[in-house]
């Protein structure tokens, strides 16, 4: 009978796995399960959004008028581009192209920065106009009595999303550093793949947030 010790040693292989393949499968399954929890967590907000949108369509239309769809669309394109570079980064890791991999990851990171920068301008504009959630709402031109709720949804959804963008950027920075040290190759690229999946999910959520928040009416 064989024991674990008879298997090949590899610094990337944890002691309780038999092969890198088994470890890769486990990691990927874990990432997907984690993504499922993320989908459900954001989904809760979406469910609330759709219910209240159905109840108060005029309020949501009025709220959307206060948002600049150009900025939203730009951010959508930024995130789509970043998803492309992220996917490419994984592919370069898979094919042992270290330099290209690092470049792709850095561009992805910069796209994240651009997204946050645009978001920052949008937020400061809203804050200036008093278009704030709940009890901080102080815009006097509001027609709908509960317009504050629209901005509650706006800030909760984009805020939660932005926190995921920040988390994703930290993860991308981490794998970029590891990639630059040459720690990934066609045999072992699990962290890049996992971070990539997470980043695509962040993009996926924005794909829905953009029309729902900016373009309804």
């Amino acid at each position: 009978m064989s024991t674990a010790n008879s298997h090949s040693h590899n610094s990337n292989l944890a002691h309780h796995f038999k092969s890198l393949d088994q470890q890769f499968d486990a990691a990927k399954l874990g990432v997907w399960l984690f993504l499922a929890t993320e989908i459900l967590m954001f989904g809760g907000l979406f469910v609330g959004y759709i219910i209240f949108h159905g109840l108060y369509p005029e309020m949501f239309a009025e709220g959307a008028k206060h948002l600049d769809w150009r900025l939203g669309a730009t951010n959508t394109l930024v995130l789509l581009l970043s998803s492309f570079t992220m996917a490419s980064g994984v592919q370069y890791a898979q094919t042992n192209q270290k330099k290209k991999c690092v470049t792709a990851l850095v561009i992805t990171f910069l796209c994240g920065c651009a997204f946050l920068l645009i978001k920052y301008f949008e937020y400061s504009h809203k804050i200036h106009d008093g278009l704030l959630p709940g009890k901080f709402f102080s815009n006097h031109e509001a027609e709908h009595a509960n317009l504050a709720m629209y901005f509650s949804f706006y800030f909760c959804m984009t805020g939660l999303h932005a926190s995921h963008v920040i988390a994703g950027m930290c993860l991308i920075a981490w794998v970029a550093v590891r990639a630059s040290k040459g720690q990934f190759n066609s045999e072992f690229y699990t962290p890049v793949e996992g971070v990539g999946l997470f980043w695509h999910l962040v993009d996926l959520i924005w794909i829905y947030l953009f029309p729902l928040l900016y373009l309804v009416g």
Binding site: M1, S2, S6, H7, K18, S19, D21, Q22, F24, D25, K28, L29, W32, L33, L35, A36, T37, I39, L40, G43, G44, F46, V47, I50, I51, H53, G54, L55, A64, K65, W69, A73, T76, L77, L80, L81, S83, F84, M86, A87, S88, Q91, Q94, T95, G196, L197, H200, L201, D203, L204, I207, Y208, F210, P211, L212, Y214, L215, V216, G217
Partner: protein, 112 residues
Amino acid sequence: MAHGDQNQAHHGHHITPIATYAKILGLLVILTILTVAVARPVSGFDAGILNAGIAFLIASVKAAMVLAIFMGLKYDKKIHLAIFISAVFFLIVMFTFSVLDIYTRIHVESTL
């Protein structure tokens, strides 16, 4: 039997060409422009009650492309797809029953 896993072939991880990713990016950009183009606040195009539906539909097509190609579900193990679908399914369950309550409640005697 115990040595079986050593002989196991490295089941090839799928590698998608960068060109495919680029094509998908192009399609996603086109669809984004389409979303904006059919939005009433932007273009004045109005499909009435279908407005939100159209926006949601386009978003879902985009999401499907991201999932299938960028996230690799098309070539991946089916269990990952199953996990994704079950998450969406239970979300729909939550939505359906909450809406069932709220709408049957409001239309009977609006106290909300």
